[in-house]
């Protein structure tokens, strides 16, 4: 029986394992040095905040793996012998495979700051990070202040976590406005305001110079590069992005760049060895997507894609239109298609922006200046229907069509107030048009082809 070894029990590796099992009776081994069982690392923040226990982050009960004949192995793969098809573990153990899937995910970036390896310098990625945060910041008497470096999605999650335990948080963000390399300025300002409103000491345009140490090797303070200001703190969160976790491949014959290089079939340069998820890098980036995409759902899609290929149904990785979501304190964010920030805006890209006066809800629509084709939407504080926007993007609907039909894309819970008449009114004023909102029709909503 063919033996499929999977290194990594995150969303990519586990999805691959599940789908190989669905389609075949191959022998499957999933290897991890992090945890015994698959868990959802997106939920680590909720464990610290007391919304959940760690066991709630595990989507499958522990009996699931045995019942589905998926062997889980705890261990750290040190080296891959591609010629002999052998995995060599840190304890010297070896494991033969017929096919190998590398799904080792990411590791948090560190940019060589003095003191970056001190006790109390943490990130938020692995289960071990959660344990460290719990140890160094259990409450606000042990941890008098926390400093977070890096203004991305993980940084704001970490800020929310520490804030939940009433620990004062200083948040260093390199940009002049939070996440403004991704978000258009109106939205970036709104989220900046939301972070400050929640009592976070947000320092924009600030970089870390160094982390100072106490005598026992714990964090004492940090210094801001721009001002030289020293801030006393007990924990430092480094959330300046992630990069593929592929250090163990250094001496193998598997070709790597920043990540493991793969083709559209997710195959590496070595036959029978695949790479998926955060650690995989497309040799040629797909249209409108980066060669490495460390998001949850691309890992899932790659897992399913590679499973099909391995089960003799060669399938290309085709992630479809971009979408994503996040939450900034109390403001939910969803995006479908591409809405670029001022920094990366395309020459043909134009925006229509609507913001609610209370500054907790806003919509930004991107469209083609010339053809008026709808390109994407950013929705803050309002939930939108993925399926509908995907369909509209497929069908190259115009911005006018999208605005007129917003009711059917609405996904907020029942009885929530909708703002589409106001949105359309603003658009009509700006464009001198007289568009009217179409009422919601179930038949449109539930027909896959329309």
């Amino acid at each position: 029986m063919e033996h499929i070894a999977i290194i990594g029990n995150g969303i990519s590796g586990i999805t691959a394992a599940r789908h190989i099992r669905k389609r075949s009776n191959k022998k499957i081994t999933v290897i991890s040095s992090e945890t015994d069982y698959f868990f959802s690392r997106t939920a680590l923040m909720y464990v610290y905040m007391g919304h959940m226990k760690f066991k709630h982050t595990q989507p499958y009960e522990n009996w699931f793996w045995k019942k589905n004949d998926i062997t889980l192995k705890k261990g750290y793969v040190k080296q891959i012998d591609t010629a002999q098809k052998n995995l060599i573990f840190s304890n010297g153990e070896q494991l033969y495979f017929d096919k190998l899937i590398i799904a080792t995910g990411s590791k948090p970036n560190k940019f060589g700051w003095p003191g970056q390896d001190l006790k109390g310098v943490v990130s938020l990625y692995h289960k071990q990070d959660l344990d460290a945060i719990e140890a160094y910041a259990p409450n606000n008497s042990v941890c008098k202040r926390a400093v977070i470096v890096g203004g991305g999605l993980i940084g704001v999650e970490l800020a929310e976590m520490l804030h939940s335990r009433h620990i004062p948080v200083t948040f260093l963000v390199r940009e002049e406005s939070y996440w403004n390399s991704i978000l258009p300025s109106g939205e970036s300002k709104m989220i900046t305001h939301e972070i400050i409103k929640n009592g976070i000491d947000l320092r924009l345009g600030s970089n870390l110079k160094q982390i100072n140490s106490n005598e026992d090797g714990t964090v004492k303070s940090i210094v801001i590069a721009e001002t030289g200001e020293e801030i006393k703190c007990n924990i430092v969160g480094l959330t300046v992005g992630v990069s593929p976790n592929i250090g163990f491949l250094k001496h193998s014959t598997i070709e790597t760049n920043r990540g493991v290089l793969v083709n559209r079939n997710l195959e590496t340069n070595i036959k029978d060895i695949y790479a998926i998820g955060d650690c995989a890098e497309q040799r040629i980036a797909l249209e409108d997507r980066k060669p490495i995409e460390a998001v949850w759902y691309t890992g899932r899609i790659m897992g399913e894609t590679v499973a099909q290929t391995i089960c003799n149904k060669e399938t290309l990785y085709t992630p479809g239109h971009w979408f994503n979501s996040a939450k900034f304190f109390d403001i939910e964010y969803q995006t479908y298609g591409r809405v670029n920030s001022e920094k990366y805006v395309k020459p043909n890209e134009s925006h229509f922006h609507w913001m609610h006066p209370d500054q907790t809800k806003c919509l930004t629509f991107a469209f083609d200046k010339h053809t008026h084709t709808f390109l994407g939407i950013n929705a803050f504080g309002i939930r939108m229907r993925h399926e509908i926007f995907n369909r509209w993007l497929d069908q190259n609907k115009t911005i006018d069509y999208v605005l007129e039909h917003l009711e059917i894309a609405h996904f907020d819970p029942e009885f929530y107030k909708t703002y589409y008449p106001e949105v359309l009114k603003k658009y009509n004023v700006e464009t001198n048009k007289t568009l009217k909102l179409k009422s919601k029709s179930w038949s449109q909503l539930f027909t896959l082809k329309s």
């Binding site: 959940m52 759902y297 969803q334």
Partner: protein
């Protein structure tokens, strides 16, 4: 703000101490005049019993209701034993010993509580209400801006099966045991709501009036908590208001007012088979003897269960009842909300749930079948089984122990919908319709799920919502009561409760995969 909160908590604890202390207060004396009147009114012909009570109890002073109640109940039992041995069937007392004891104790109370009902009501209920509000209202400021604030639920002793939870668990179970089986032990609590009962129905309060009143007060207070916690969520606000309205108006006020006009006590929203004694002989007789109005209730009760319930479930799912109307649901969604995360999500629990809840439904239907057969054939025994015995078993096991003692008592340990999930026959009936013939579903929003598990954790019915959401499938489950919390706690906007065409209700959302080639394949496969 914190001080106000502490003050509120202090007040609540003080009132709780007073409440417990109340049980032991007052004195009790059964006067011979009262006793004689009771004997005549209730046609008690047991000389043994009368003599026994006259010797030991009548005109004697008791300082607590417990000894008095137990002595009366024992007297009933020993008199009955004597009469049975001597086959003096006409002298046997058929009333349940502790029901009879309760009635006698109720008319024996004297002293501080009986004389100061209203004052003590103010000191207990009044201060408790103020204390609870002082404790809860500061949350608007203390817990930060509107939004999901589930911080520290798993760090708290009250909501993570800590000592506070176990204490509340023990207290609730004791409370229900006393309420159902030893009502005279809480006689002083009943006295203090006498004035309200007399105002509404003209009668002094019974333990059921006390329970109904307490139920309304607790639901109202905990609804205030819901309003604060979900002030950003209109679905939750409207739903909570609806539950409160149906509890206070339909389950509490209307039935009491009906009694004032000498009509049968009836809760117009309580549908059979949850209302399991609707077809019992005594109820049918009472309705038929109450003229046109009784007949109206009879017809309404049948139409409610056979037409209104299934039609509404078809259009809106069972949530229209469980999360918008039902009294049990009302308590679960208010008092029980802090405990929703404690329901078990294991596959094993789901198996137990299906056997148990459908088992109770079958039990209820069989019992009702026997009852009606007996009613129409004018027999007390059907197939050699005493109808009364079956009814008593159901009433004891399901009506009292499961719905009450377990149903509410288990809140702090096993979550707030134990009864609704494992025991309620109406929920089982509606669940079958919801599963197979309904427009209701929880839609999963394409591929946005990140498997975080908030939805599953906070599902009071123990549904593993995430298992569906992460596959892009809609959630169609018999047990879903449509409380909407999964959708509320989702940090990525993945879930939406909605009613829509049956076509495509269950099917998984092909966008999820994002893999367009597969999408087409999947469509062809189907």
């Amino acid at each position: 703000m914190k001080t106000i909160r502490t003050l509120g908590l202090g007040l609540l604890l003080a009132v709780f101490a007073l409440f417990i202390n109340l049980l032991f207060m007052g004195n009790y004396k059964l006067s011979s005049a009262t006793f004689d009147l009771y004997i005549i009114q209730n046609n008690i012909s047991s000389e043994v019993f009368i003599k026994d009570l006259k010797n030991t109890i009548v005109d004697n002073d008791f300082s607590t209701p417990f000894y008095l109640a137990n002595s009366i109940a024992e007297a009933v039992e020993s008199a009955n034993t004597y009469h049975r041995e001597n086959k003096e069937w006409n002298q046997v007392i058929w009333a349940k010993p502790h029901s009879l004891a309760y009635q006698i104790v109720k008319s024996s109370g004297q002293g501080i509580v009986v004389q100061n009902k209203f004052l003590i009501w103010l000191l207990s209920f009044g201060l408790a209400i103020i204390g609870a509000l002082l404790f809860m209202l500061p949350a608007i400021r203390l817990k930060g801006p509107a939004g999901i604030k589930n911080n520290h639920i798993y760090h708290s002793n009250a909501t993570n099966r800590g000592w506070i939870a176990w204490f509340v668990f023990a207290f609730l179970i004791l409370f229900y045991l006393v309420l159902y089986f030893r009502p005279s032990y809480m006689i002083n609590w009943i006295y203090i709501v006498d004035p309200i009962s007399e105002f509404l129905s003209g009668n002094p309060a019974s333990q059921w009036f006390l329970y109904g009143f307490l139920y309304c007060v607790i639901m109202t207070l905990m609804a205030v908590r819901m309003y604060i916690k979900y002030r950003h969520n209109n679905y939750q606000i409207l739903r909570t208001t609806s539950l409160l309205f149906f509890q206070i108006v339909f389950a509490f006020l209307i039935p009491e007012i009906l009694v004032r006009f000498e009509k049968p006590w009836y809760d117009f929203k309580n549908a059979f088979p949850l209302d399991y004694d609707f077809f019992f002989r005594w109820n049918l007789n009472e309705l038929l003897e109450s003229g046109g109005f009784g007949l109206f209730i009879l017809v309404w009760g049948i139409v409610l269960s056979l037409v209104v319930v299934p039609v509404m479930v078809y259009f809106f799912g069972k949530r229209w009842y469980c999360s918008w109307v039902c009294g049990c649901g009302g308590l679960a969604e208010t008092l029980g909300d802090p405990y929703r995360q404690l329901s078990s999500k294991s596959l094993f629990s789901w198996k137990v749930e299906r056997w148990l809840v459908h088992g109770v439904l079958v039990f209820a239907l069989l019992m009702t079948g026997l009852t009606l057969y007996g009613y129409f054939s004018e027999a007390y025994e059907v197939f050699g089984i005493k109808v009364q015995t079956i009814q008593d078993i159901y009433g004891f096991l399901i009506g009292s122990i499961f719905a009450g003692v377990i149903g509410t008592g288990f809140y702090p340990i096993f979550g707030n919908r134990v009864w609704c999930r494992f025991g309620c026959p109406l929920a089982a009936y509606m669940g079958v319709i919801q599963r197979f013939k309904s427009r209701f579903r929880i839609t999963t929003n394409g591929g946005q799920c990140i498997s975080c598990g908030n939805c599953s954790t906070y599902c009071e019915q123990g549904i593993d919502v995430r298992a569906y959401a992460q596959k892009g499938e809609n959630i169609i489950r018999a047990s879903c009561v449509g409380c909407g919390i999964c959708s509320a706690v989702c940090p990525r906007g993945v879930l939406k409760l909605e009613n829509g065409p049956e076509q495509g209700r269950i099917g998984s959302n092909a966008v999820l995969l994002g893999n367009e080639m597969n999408l087409l394949d999947q469509l062809h496969d189907k």
